[in-house]
Amino acid sequence: GSVPCDDLSISDIWMNHPDVRDAMHAKSVSEIGEFQICTNVLLYHHDAGSMIPIHKQLMGEGLQVLIYSGDHDMCVPYTGSEAWTRDVGKKIVRPWQAWYVKDQVAGYTVTYDRNLTFATVKGAGHTVPEYKPAEALAMFKRFLAGKP
């Protein structure tokens, strides 16, 4: 229901306004209750285990994969993503290098075989497009275009 260190009043106000619900074709507060950015109603079970075997399987299907990390995030730190991608990727096809947006270093990236790329976004927190919107969009565009 709440998130430490974040002010969520904008989403709380906007998403619970009847005119907004109506405009978005969403059920009203009286029908489905108040919107919360994160809910406590779920009783959630993590039953899928580690994602690593699944990533390996999917990479075998020829899918294009980008794993990125805002490098200021302490919640899911980049060190974990860097480690598992390194172990899964094995063979480096494009070594570590900086990547740039408007001549500024936006982060660092490495590409492994089987279309797996790991990239950091320098100075970004947990929610990368929020902290570094321009860099996030640039990264997204390059990924979609199949560019480094």
């Binding site: 709440s2 430490p4 260190c5 974040d6 002010d7 904008i10 989403s11 106000i13 906007w14 005119d19 907004v20 405009a23 978005m24 074709h25 969403a26 059920k27 489905i32 919360q36 950015i37 994160c38 809910t39 779920l42 959630y44 079970h45 993590h46 899928a48 580690s50 994602m51 699944i54 399987q57 899918l63 294009q64 994969v65 980008l66 794993i67 990125y68 805002g70 200021h72 995030d73 302490m74 919640c75 899911v76 730190p77 980049y78 060190t79 974990g80 993503s81 598992w84 927190g125 947990h126 929610t127 497009p129 929020e130 919107p133 996030a136 969009l137 997204f140 565009k141 990924f143 979609l144």
Partner: protein, 453 residues
């Protein structure tokens, strides 16, 4: 169907949309009335050929409107001067639908605007969520048939590090079975995603050391004592060192270590706390500034209360002075050490439950688990119980060993020096002696842990 779902205007936005937007529900289980809400912002470039992206926020339990409002959505949201007014919206120059057709999906049912008519549906899981989301996709591409041929990518962050691959696997399996409509899955992207208990659980110590948040002595000792294994801990000394590290990190904003932490009740905060929504707000209590405008002393944060949204103040709760509390806690822990056990058990069911205040810290641990809060949702990163969660990939013997280790770790952690999860209660005043007992974590997350047990 498309026409009736079109969103033609949104309160707070005066201009014209840069492309067509749609919103509505798709039933993933008619019988139980399980309905998922989506918002579909088509590409502002070339919707007919640009890729379709499904965006999922994490939690578990967090709405993808986090992505829509605060991250990559078509609009920037600017807080109104008063909280009774609607935010002002303007076009977001960095919206991802500049170059792609983006579908924001609230999943699983119960999250955001999604719902079920059958409350037991809110008892859910990774695998069930993946199946439902696949069902959603098939219905979505049936409804928006012309987009089915476009390249399709799945994207998300945080706990969506679980949602994304599990869904991708469902889609791949569906394609193999010839399920229609054929989804043109090309790839996926995950930001700061959860992946694996071992990798993620061992990531924090090297991160905080690399960022200079803990000193070399503590880091070296952690490596030596814990043997670089921080997620499945059985050594009391390692537990103690991890607690010491937690103490060093507890006042940081875990989502961005250099950002201030927003405290809704921080009247005394000299600088500006960061408000979500890229436009920094001015009507917020606690300062008008935002990123880069922090005028006050950062270290003042140390003396602040915890975020009000996370603290339930009862009688006697209030601004008790964290310094004094800390001293008391240390004194209490010292006493516990001497007594050789935590007093969680003996405090259970005591009558002084009223007037307590419950604290939820950003990062804490319980019974051998090292846990972290994801934005609004909660995740245990390294957990003894996680071994059981991964049981599907383990041999029975390994599973037994994991369970033994978990129980041993739990014993160690609960009986050792560290009492990680505390609930403090003021006794007859604002600075009353704190009493440690289990229960700092929100209920739903505790339930998650219990389920694993």
């Amino acid at each position: 169907g498309e026409d009736s779902a079109e969103v033609k205007s949104l309160p707070g936005f005066d201009g014209e949309f840069g492309s067509k937007h749609f919103g509505g529900y798709i039933a993933v289980d008619e019988k139980h009335g399980r309905n998922l809400y989506y918002y579909f912002a088509t590409s502002e470039r070339d919707p007919d050929t640009d890729p379709v992206i499904l965006w999922l926020n994490g939690g578990p339990g967090c709405s993808s409107f986090d992505g829509f409002i605060y991250e990559l959505g078509p609009f920037l949201f600017e807080a109104a001067s008063s909280k009774s007014e609607l935010p002002k919206l303007k076009r977001n120059p960095y919206a991802w639908n500049k170059v792609a057709n983006v579908v924001f999906l609230d999943s699983p049912a119960g999250v955001g605007l999604s719902y079920s008519m059958t409350p037991t549906d809110y008892n859910t899981s990774d695998l069930k969520t993946a199946k439902d989301t696949h069902t959603f996709l098939l219905a979505f591409f049936t409804k928006y048939r012309k987009f089915a041929k476009n390249p399709f990518f799945i994207a998300g962050e945080s706990y969506a590090g679980i949602y994304v691959p599990t869904l991708a696997r469902e889609v791949v399996q569906g394609l193999r079975q010839g399920v229609e409509p054929k989804i043109n899955l090309k790839g996926y992207l995950i930001g700061n995603g959860c992946t694996d208990n071992v990798y993620d659980g061992n990531a924090l110590v090297p991160f905080v050391y690399g960022m200079g948040l803990i000193d070399s002595d503590l880091h070296d000792e952690l490596e030596k004592v814990c043997k670089k294994n921080y997620w499945q801990v059985t050594s009391p000394k390692c537990v103690e060192l991890l607690d010491q590290m937690d103490e060093d990190l507890k006042d940081l904003n875990m989502y961005d270590i250099l950002e201030p932490c927003y405290h809704p009740d921080s009247h005394t905060y000299g600088g500006g706390s960061r408000s979500r929504g890229r436009e920094e707000t001015s009507g917020m209590e606690g300062g008008a500034g935002g990123r880069g405008e922090e005028g006050g002393n950062k270290f003042e944060r140390k003396s602040l209360k915890r975020p009000a949204s996370l603290v339930q103040f009862g009688d006697g709760g209030g601004d008790g002075g964290e310094e004094k509390e800390r001293e008391e806690r240390e004194e209490r822990e010292e006493r516990e050490k001497e007594e050789g056990n935590g007093h969680a058990e003996e405090e259970k069911g005591k009558p002084e439950e009223k007037g307590e205040r419950e604290e939820v810290t950003g990062m804490t641990s319980l019974g051998g688990r090292v846990m972290k809060l994801l934005p609004g949702g909660l995740l245990r990163l390294g957990s003894q119980g996680a071994a059981a969660a991964d049981a599907g990939e383990q041999e029975p013997k390994a599973r037994e060993r994991s369970e033994e280790a978990r129980l041993e770790g739990q014993k160690t952690r609960e009986g050792g020096a560290g009492v990680e999860v505390e609930e403090r209660r003021g006794e007859g005043g604002t600075t009353g002696r704190g009493i440690a007992k289990k229960g700092r974590l929100p209920e739903s997350f505790l339930q998650l842990g219990q389920e694993r047990r």
